[in-house]
């Protein structure tokens, strides 16, 4: 089949416009790739399958990539998968290198996206066969490995770990849902609040509150700082991004893209885990782990390559098993279903045209994303030159809209935003660590489900060590990460004492 016959003007226009709209959705805190795809899903009725998928895949790639923009410039993760981007990209932007941070992010995103596409195109069925070897036990250990970053991210390890566990604890508020195989009973809910808290606190409002609202409250208390000028943030010819920053990052790019792709193929683990895990692995294997969290280019590369590599990875189980890899690809099943197409292990063989169209659409979407974001960076970066008294109310309004719309209009999500905004502001005062807290909050529910299901399914705790060679490898990584964090904390302490 002539693959180029697919590339009609309408097909390309739909991908490009989808990518553009996706970037905008991703860039607004609280709006996600999932939401972008959900909003446009009904349009695919009239577009036909291939053109409909072109639009949705553009939205998917754009939405994931667009989350980078507020993470870099405002320190607010536009989507959960951009959470780890905030750790290094925002400090870099605060140093006045916002443009550099954005360009690093975009290049890493492109590499991650294309890497995962190659994996998808050549190895989808084989990867799906490998993915089914990951049962609850292995998935729990992966989440556990990602959780070890809590210690590594903390300036005070003990406080960091405490904050992380507090995050896990708060994430468990609500019903252990029967749709997750739970018992449907309420837990950790104060009497009388069942109506609001049965689904617990939603992730995105909490995320936006802790990274956005809390920072705004903090700055409001101190007094509004003067906005930076264009020359101060080095937007302009004098701070041209140099590709030399990527020198020596081949291993990091490859490792993070591979991790992102791999996490993508594991149904249910999700984009936030992919970026956190890529970040953890990069830090564990880095020659300069002490620079992480302070504006390290390595950290940005790891998280952005990881979260964009998820896009191709998440399509592997969708197209090879009929099982979505993440919440956005779950929406794509809707697009197939609305056209009466069955997705499953025979899909690729039975639908070569649709399969090729998807790959072509993803390549074009990645390239379109790169071109749009790379060349529009200067304009994006200018956002930090907007005076804070104008910028903050706008951010606040976007945060509220994002929180309200994320679950299709639940007012309690706006209250969540307010509650956790105030909590975040107080947490800074009592020196709780926000990053480990939020990582605990994101990963807690998955950790619980996989842990409980492992015990229910296999009987006792020894299964975590004896289930498979994959489990043993994961334990080695977990131990390496924990030991690495302890050694690093000691070295920092010793250096501080010398000074």
């Amino acid at each position: 089949m002539d693959i180029f016959s697919l590339i009609s003007p309408l097909f390309v226009a739909l991908i490009v416009s989808g990518t553009f709209v996706g970037i905008i959705f991703g860039a607004i805190p609280g709006m996600t790739a999932t939401m972008a795809v959900a909003v446009c899903l009904p349009l695919t009725y009239s577009l036909g399958l291939e053109n409909g998928l072109a639009l949705l895949l553009g939205l998917y790639v754009g939405g994931i990539s667009g989350g980078t923009v507020p993470a870099v410039l405002l320190g607010i993760p536009g989507t959960p998968s951009s959470i780890a981007t905030c750790f290094d990209a925002y400090p870099m932007a605060q140093r006045g290198e916002g443009e550099k941070a954005l360009r690093i992010s975009i290049i890493a995103s492109l590499v991650g996206g294309l890497f995962s596409l190659i994996a998808l195109y050549f190895f989808a069925p084989a990867l799906a066969d490998f993915a089914i070897r990951f049962s609850y036990v292995e998935k729990f250990l992966i989440i556990f490995f990602a959780l070890t970053v809590m210690a590594a991210l903390s300036s005070n390890m003990l406080l960091g770990i405490f904050s992380g566990f507090l995050g896990i604890f708060i994430s468990l508020i609500g019903v252990y849902d029967v749709t997750d195989g739970g018992n449907g009973h309420y837990r950790l809910i104060p009497p009388g609040t069942e109506y609001w808290l049965d689904s617990g606190f939603s992730l995105l409002p909490v995320l936006i509150a802790l990274f956005g609202l809390a920072a705004i409250l903090e700055e409001a208390e101190k007094g509004m700082p003067r906005a930076k000028t264009a020359s101060e943030i080095k937007v302009g010819a004098q701070s041209r991004f140099s590709f030399s920053v990527l020198k020596g990052q081949g291993r990091n790019l490859f490792q993070s893209s591979a991790i992102g792709t791999f996490i993508g193929i594991l149904p249910g683990v999700g984009g936030s885990a992919a970026s956190i895990l890529s970040y953890t692995a990069a830090k564990t294997t880095s020659k300069h782990p002490e620079e992480y969290g302070k504006g390290s280019a390595e950290g940005i590369i790891a998280t952005e390559a990881g979260n964009n590599a998820l896009t191709g990875g998440a399509l592997v189980p969708l197209l090879s098993l009929g099982i979505p890899g993440d919440s956005t690809t779950a929406l794509l099943i809707g697009a197939f279903a609305l056209q009466g197409v069955q997705v499953g292990p025979l899909f690729i063989g039975n639908n070569p045209e649709t399969w090729n169209a998807m790959i072509v659409a993803m390549i074009i979407a990645n390239v379109a994303m790169f071109i749009m974001m790379y060349f529009a960076i200067r304009w994006f970066a200018m956002v930090v030159t907007v005076p804070k008294y104008i910028l903050y109310p706008v951010i606040l309004m976007m945060c509220v809209i994002g929180a309200y719309t994320i679950n299709y209009g639940i007012m309690f999500d706006v209250w969540t935003l307010l509650i956790f905004g105030i909590f975040g502001w107080l947490a800074i005062k009592i020196r709780l660590e926000i990053a480990p807290f939020i990582i605990g909050f994101i990963l807690g529910p998955s950790a619980e489900i996989y842990f409980v299901k492992s015990l229910e399914s296999f009987g006792d705790l020894t299964i975590f060590f004896t289930k498979s060679w994959i489990a043993v490898v994961l334990w080695v990584l977990i131990v390496a990460s924990v030991v690495g964090s302890i050694l690093m904390a000691r070295r920092s302490k010793a250096m501080a004492e010398k000074i």
Partner: protein, 348 residues
């Protein structure tokens, strides 16, 4: 024929009178209606059905209808809050089954809401075993339970998935009292989790759907992912209305082999248990009855025109319009039947 002014006036008058019921109803209708569904997924059968119905209704009534996949709990909350008729809900039998199974937070929808018309059946609810399973049929599974072998069945508790499992236990009890203890549930979550439970060797049988699992039944027997159908819970009359080509590579005739009477899961020793997963609308108790009537009337017209049936059939759904009075009676009877089985097994 020559058109006179009088004829034109009469014709316009007649058209105005004919259009009056719908126009009157339309006056009561909100311009924007939110159709919440009891699923958070847009990839499942609930969203698919809701989309088809919303699109047809929207065209017929001339109002905007948007489908929001908010999940059962949030859907019911949204419906309970809105007495104006801006929110309606579409879901399936799970909404009352959860209540019967005692899932916390699931009140009786028959008491707290108004049951609206049914719109479609998904005949796809099924049970599968690995391709190399020793169990060829449901008979083998029930025999194994009778012989004292534990049969593990992966289900998502509290809904349509569990009712088939309950029926299996009930059949084991009817055939050989006490053997039902050997049919045990493995509580999982999504379809992905149920499939994984099979591939991990944690479940001997899994609940699935024709739409999601049919392709796995077409894999070579040496493929570790390969599965076989052993039971489809739909009534044979329902499956007979499915497209003849079936779904994927499995024909309707082949599907019928897995449903009653070819595959028997007894209800009481005489009749077989069969269960159709039916989709229906739910309304707020205080919603203006004129709005409900308008929706009922519009659906009646849509189904009389016949286009919606084609769309539903293409997606392997069985069109099944019943106005709300009939739907209430039918679903109440169905609820009572399954409540009896669930209750009997609870006592033991």
């Amino acid at each position: 024929m020559k058109l006179t002014r009088r004829m034109i006036v009469v014709a316009i008058g007649a058209m105005a009178i004919a259009a009056q019921p719908l126009a009157a109803a339309a006056q009561n209708l909100p311009n924007n209606i939110r159709m919440v569904i009891g699923s958070t997924s847009t990839g499942g059968d609930t969203y698919q059905n809701a989309s088809i119905v919303a699109e047809a209704l929207s065209e017929q009534l001339g109002v905007n209808i948007k489908v929001d996949p908010v999940g059962t709990s949030e859907g019911l909350k949204a419906l309970a809050r809105d007495t104006r008729g801006n929110t309606i809900m579409l879901h399936h039998d799970q909404i009352y089954l959860s209540h019967l199974y005692g899932v916390p937070g699931n009140d009786d929808p028959f008491e707290n809401f108004i049951i609206g018309p049914t719109v479609a059946i998904n005949p796809g609810d099924s049970f599968l075993v690995p391709a190399d399973s020793p169990y060829q049929t449901m008979e083998d599974i029930l025999d194994a339970a009778e012989a004292g072998t534990q049969v593990r069945v992966a289900i998502q508790p509290g809904g349509v998935s569990e009712i088939g499992f309950t029926a299996m236990k009930n059949a084991a009890r009817v055939r050989s009292p006490g053997s039902e203890a050997n049919i045990v549930a493995v509580n999982t979550g999504s379809q992905a989790d149920k499939n994984q439970a099979m591939w991990d060797g944690l479940a001997d049988v899994i609940n699935g759907s024709i739409q999601a699992n049919e392709q796995f039944t077409q894999l070579g027997a040496d493929d570790p992912k390969a599965m076989r159908f052993v039971w489809i819970t739909a009534r044979p009359q329902t499956l007979e209305q499915a497209p003849e080509a079936g779904m994927g590579d499995t024909t309707r005739e082949e599907f019928l082999q897995y449903a009653s009477p070819a595959t028997s899961v007894t209800l009481d020793g005489t009749d077989d248990f069969a269960f159709d997963k039916e989709f229906f609308l739910l309304y707020n108790e205080e919603m203006d009855p004129a709005i409900m009537d308008a929706i009922d009337t519009a659906l009646e017209k849509i189904y009389a025109e016949g286009e919606i049936q084609q769309r539903q059939s293409e997606a392997f759904f069985i069109p099944n319009f019943q106005p709300r009075d009939e739907a209430l009676e039918h679903l109440s009877d169905k609820r009572d039947t399954v409540a009896g089985i669930i209750e009997q097994l609870k006592v033991e």
